[in-house]
C-alpha cells in the first residue's frame, strides 16, 4: 500500500474554494482526504513536510512539443516528462507535430505508452486535425480519441481552410473534444520572422503583423459561434486578439484561450540582439500587447498559461535569426516566470495561479485532476513561492533554447507528486 501525507502546507484548490493550512493524504494514487491536522491523527507510510510551502493540484501544461517520434536528439517523451516534473507539471498535453505526425490511433497510443514507460509526468496526446498535418483531409478523429487523444490540433500549423475548421469543429463536438488552433493568417504573415513593428523596421527583418493573428482569430470565432463547438485558441499574443475573444466570450461563444510565459514577459525589442532564442511563434509583441495579455490573465479572459515548450538542439538554433527554427523550451521555467511576474510582480492571487496552470487546462481538455477533491488523481505540486533561483544554463530537457537563461526568478516546484509518488524533489526527500 502506498501512502503519502503532504503535511502543513497552504493548500490552494480553487475548484473547491479551498485556501488554507491543510494536510493532503494521497493513497494508492488517489487523493483520499484534505483536512487540517491529519498528521497528528496517526502514522503514515511517508510524510512530506510542506510547511512554508504552497500545495497545488498537479500542474498541467496543455501545449508542449516532445519531438518523439522523429527528432529524439531535441527531446523525447522521457526527457520531456522529466523536464515537466522538474518544472512542477504532473501532466502535459503533447502536440502532434512529430515525424510522422500523430494522426491516427496507433500514433496516439504510442505516445501514451512511451509516457507510461517514462513514469514521470502523465502524457496526453493531442491528435492531428488533418492527415499528416497537411490541412487537406480530416484525420480519423474518433480513432485518435480511442488511442488516447484528449484534443485535436494541427499544432503550430493553423488550419488555413475555413471549411476544414468548420468540419473539424463539428466532428470534434460529436466526440466531445476541443479543437486547439494557433491562429495565424499565412498570407498576411508572409515570410515574417518577428513582430511587424518599429523594431522589425529597424532590423530589416520581415515582420508578422498583429493583424495576421487577429484576422484568423476573427474567422475562427465566427466558426465557433456557427458550430457551437468548443474552440481553444492557443498562445494568443496580441491585445487585439484578446479583445476579440473577450467580446466572443461575452456573447456566449464556446471559446477558451491560453498564453505563454514568454509572451507575458518579453517584447520584440529583445530581437535587437539577433539572438535566435527570441524567435518564437507567434512572435514576441510590444509592451502594449504584454500589458493587455497580463490584464487578460488577471481578469479571467485568459483560461490557461501553457509553455509552448519547443525544444531545438543548439546546432539548429545557433544560426542566423531568419534561418533559425521558432520556439523556446518552457517546461522548467513556466512556473517561475508566472510566479515572479504575476504573483510577485502584479499581486495575482495564488488561486488564479492554480486556475491558470491546473484547473483551467483540466477543464479545457476534460482531464481528471485540476483539483484535490477526494477521488481525484494523486497529482500534487508543492511550490516554494518565495525561494529565488537562477535559470539554466543546464536543463533537464535535451535542449537548452530558453530565453530566460540567467534570470533570477522567485517560485519553483519543491515536490512534484504524480500518482502519489514523488516524481521530483528539489532536495532529497525526507525518509520515512
Amino acid at each position: 500500500m502506498s501512502e503519502l501525507l503532504i503535511a502543513g502546507g497552504r493548500v490552494v484548490d480553487p475548484a473547491r474554494g479551498v485556501d488554507g493550512r491543510l494536510d493532503v493524504l494521497v493513497r494508492e494514487g488517489e487523493v483520499v482526504a484534505v483536512a487540517p491536522d491529519l498528521a497528528r491523527g496517526g502514522s503514515y507510510e511517508r510524510v512530506l513536510d510542506a510547511s512554508g510551502l504552497v500545495v497545488l493540484p498537479g500542474l498541467i501544461d496543455m501545449n508542449v512539443q516532445l519531438r518523439e517520434p522523429g527528432r529524439s536528439a531535441d527531446e523525447t517523451i522521457a526527457s520531456g516528462a522529466a523536464a515537466a516534473v522538474r518544472g512542477g507539471f504532473t501532466a502535459v498535453a503533447v502536440m502532434p507535430n512529430t515525424e510522422p505526425a500523430v494522426d491516427d490511433e496507433a500514433g496516439a497510443e504510442f505516445q501514451v505508452l512511451q509516457g507510461k514507460r517514462a513514469g514521470k509526468a502523465w502524457i496526453y496526446p493531442i491528435g492531428a486535425v488533418s492527415r499528416g498535418l497537411e490541412g487537406k483531409a480530416l484525420a480519423e478523429l474518433a480513432g485518435l480519441k480511442r488511442g488516447g487523444a484528449v484534443a485535436f490540433s494541427d499544432g503550430d500549423r493553423p488550419l488555413r481552410s475555413a471549411e476544414m475548421l468548420r468540419c473539424a469543429l463539428l466532428y470534434a463536438k460529436m466526440l466531445d473534444r476541443v479543437v486547439v488552433q494557433h491562429p495565424e493568417d499565412y498570407d498576411l504573415a508572409k515570410q515574417g520572422v518577428m513582430h511587424s513593428g518599429r523594431v522589425s523596421t529597424i532590423l530589416g527583418l520581415a515582420g508578422k503583423s498583429a493583424a495576421s493573428e487577429q484576422v484568423m482569430v476573427s474567422r475562427d470565432l465566427t466558426l465557433a459561434e456557427l458550430t457551437g463547438a468548443h474552440l481553444h485558441l492557443g498562445r494568443i499574443s496580441t491585445a487585439g486578439s484578446l479583445e476579440l475573444i473577450r467580446v466572443a466570450k461575452h456573447k456566449g461563444v464556446r471559446v477558451t484561450c491560453d498564453v505563454t510565459p514568454h509572451h507575458l514577459s518579453l517584447t520584440d525589442e529583445a530581437v535587437e540582439s539577433f539572438n535566435p532564442c527570441y524567435k518564437v511563434d507567434p512572435p514576441l509583441r510590444t509592451q502594449r500587447d504584454v500589458e493587455a495579455l497580463i490584464e487578460g490573465v488577471l481578469d479571467g479572459t485568459v483560461d490557461a498559461i501553457a509553455s509552448d515548450h519547443a525544444p531545438h538542439s543548439p546546432e539548429k538554433k545557433d544560426v542566423e535569426f531568419q534561418f533559425a527554427p521558432s520556439g523556446v523550451i518552457g517546461l522548467e521555467t513556466t512556473l517561475g516566470v508566472v510566479i515572479e511576474h504575476l504573483v510577485h510582480g502584479r499581486g495575482m492571487p495564488l488561486t488564479r495561479l492554480a486556475e491558470l496552470l491546473s484547473a483551467g487546462p483540466a477543464r479545457i481538455l476534460g482531464l481528471p485532476g485540476g483539483s484535490l477533491a477526494p477521488g481525484a488523481p494523486g497529482n500534487v505540486t508543492v511550490v516554494d513561492v518565495d525561494g529565488a533561483w537562477t535559470v539554466g544554463p543546464e536543463f533537464v530537457s535535451r535542449s537548452q533554447n530558453s530565453p530566460f537563461v540567467g534570470w533570477t526568478l522567485r517560485g519553483q516546484a519543491r515536490y512534484t507528486v504524480v500518482d502519489g509518488q514523488i516524481a521530483y524533489a528539489a532536495e532529497p526527500a525526507p525518509a520515512g
Binding site: 523596421t201 530589416g204 527583418l205 504584454v290 535569426f321
Partner: protein, 330 residues
C-alpha cells in the same frame, strides 16, 4: 593649422551606423579624407596593414562592393582572401559560425561580411576574435555604402546640418536606406523617404524621417536625391504592378529633375537600372555624383579597414532592451 579633436575610434567592428555617435561617423569621414589623398600619389599604397589578413566573406553575389573592399585592403598592404558563394544557405551543412571560425583559424584579422540575413555580421562579431565589417546584412544595414554617401555629400555640399535628403525607392527592403537614415539623422540632416506605400511603409516615420508617396511634391525641397535601385524581380508581384508604372510615378527623368533645385545632387548606390529609377540623361548629367560615390567608396573602406584594425572595443553581448526584467513591471 586646424586640428579639430575628434573622439578617437575604439571599436573593433563596424556593424551599422545606428550604434555609432555623430563623432564616430565624422571620425571615419575625416580618416577617409586622409586616405583619399593616397589615391592621387605616385605610389598608391601604404604599408599600414602589412602582414594583416582581410577576408571577404560574401554569401551574396556583389562584385562591386567586394572589389572596392579588396582594392582598399590592398592599398593598405593587407593580404586579401576571397570566400564567395552565391547563396546564404549553409554550405555543405556547415553553419555560418563554423564557416567563419574555420577561416579565422588560418589567421584572419578582419572579416568583411556580406549576407542575406539581417544580423549576420553581429552574430559573427559575437563569435570571432577578428574584427568584423558589415558589407551588407539583408535589409538591415550597409554602413560603408552610407558612409561613402555621406562622404560624397560632405565633399559636394560641405555640411549636413539643415540639408534635406530624399531617398527614393524600395525603402522597406533596403539596407542602404536604413544606414543612410541613421547617418543623416545623427549628422543633423532632414530625411524624406519616397516611394509607393507597398515599398515605403508608413512605419518608417517612427525612425524620425518623413514618409512621402509623391516624388513631384518632394523634389523642389531637397538638396540631395538618393535614387535606390529597384529590384525588377519585384515587379508584377504585390509590391508594384510594373516597372513602367514605377518609372511614371517615381523615376527620375530629365523632365522631372527640372522641378528640383538647380544645384541638387543626384546619387545612386548602383548598379543602375537605366530608364527605370533614373533616366540615362540624369545619371550622366551635371547633377549626378554617381562616379564620385564610387571613388569615395575606396577611401571610406580604406579608413574603415584601418580603424577597425586599430580598435579594441567590442560591445558586450547585447543588453536586452525591452526585456521586462522580473518584478520591474510592478
Amino acid at each position: 593649422m586646424k586640428e579639430a579633436p575628434r573622439a578617437a575610434w575604439t571599436r573593433r567592428d563596424l556593424l551599422g551606423l545606428r550604434e555609432l555617435s555623430a563623432e564616430e561617423i565624422l571620425s571615419i569621414l575625416d580618416a577617409a579624407q586622409g586616405f583619399a589623398d593616397i589615391s592621387t600619389r605616385s605610389i598608391r599604397k601604404v604599408p599600414t596593414l602589412r602582414g594583416r589578413v582581410v577576408v571577404n566573406l560574401f554569401f551574396e553575389p556583389s562584385t562591386r562592393t567586394r572589389l572596392s573592399f579588396s582594392l582598399a585592403a590592398q592599398r593598405l598592404s593587407a593580404d586579401v582572401l576571397d570566400f564567395t558563394t552565391g547563396s546564404s544557405s549553409t554550405v555543405k551543412g556547415e553553419t555560418l559560425i563554423d564557416t567563419a571560425k574555420n577561416i579565422e583559424a588560418m589567421g584572419v584579422d578582419v572579416f568583411v561580411v556580406r549576407h542575406s540575413a539581417p544580423g549576420a555580421a553581429a552574430i559573427l562579431s559575437r563569435n570571432l576574435e577578428a574584427a568584423v565589417v558589415n558589407a551588407g546584412d539583408g535589409a538591415h544595414e550597409h554602413p560603408t555604402q552610407a558612409l561613402l554617401d555621406l562622404y560624397t555629400i560632405r565633399q559636394k555640399l560641405g555640411r549636413f546640418e539643415g540639408l534635406h535628403v530624399a531617398i527614393v525607392g524600395d525603402i522597406g527592403h533596403s539596407r542602404v536606406a536604413r544606414s543612410n537614415i541613421w547617418g543623416l539623422l545623427k549628422l543633423g540632416a532632414k530625411v524624406t523617404v519616397v516611394g509607393p506605400p507597398t515599398l515605403v511603409p508608413g512605419r518608417f516615420a517612427e525612425l524620425g524621417v518623413e514618409v512621402s508617396h509623391d516624388l513631384d511634391a518632394v523634389l523642389p525641397q531637397v538638396d540631395v536625391l538618393n535614387m535606390l535601385r529597384i529590384q525588377r524581380e519585384r515587379q508584377g508581384t504585390l509590391n508594384f504592378p510594373s516597372s513602367e508604372e514605377y518609372t511614371r510615378l517615381f523615376g527620375l527623368t530629365g523632365e522631372r529633375l527640372k522641378r528640383a533645385k538647380p544645384e541638387v545632387i543626384v546619387m545612386h548606390p548602383g548598379p543602375i537600372n537605366r530608364g527605370v529609377e533614373i533616366a540615362p540623361e540624369v545619371a550622366d548629367g551635371p547633377n549626378s555624383v554617381i562616379l564620385d560615390q564610387v571613388a569615395a567608396g575606396l577611401a571610406v573602406r580604406m579608413a574603415v579597414l584601418f580603424l577597425v584594425s586599430t580598435g579594441t572595443r567590442r560591445d558586450p553581448p547585447a543588453q536586452l532592451p525591452g526585456v521586462t526584467s522580473p518584478g520591474e513591471a510592478s
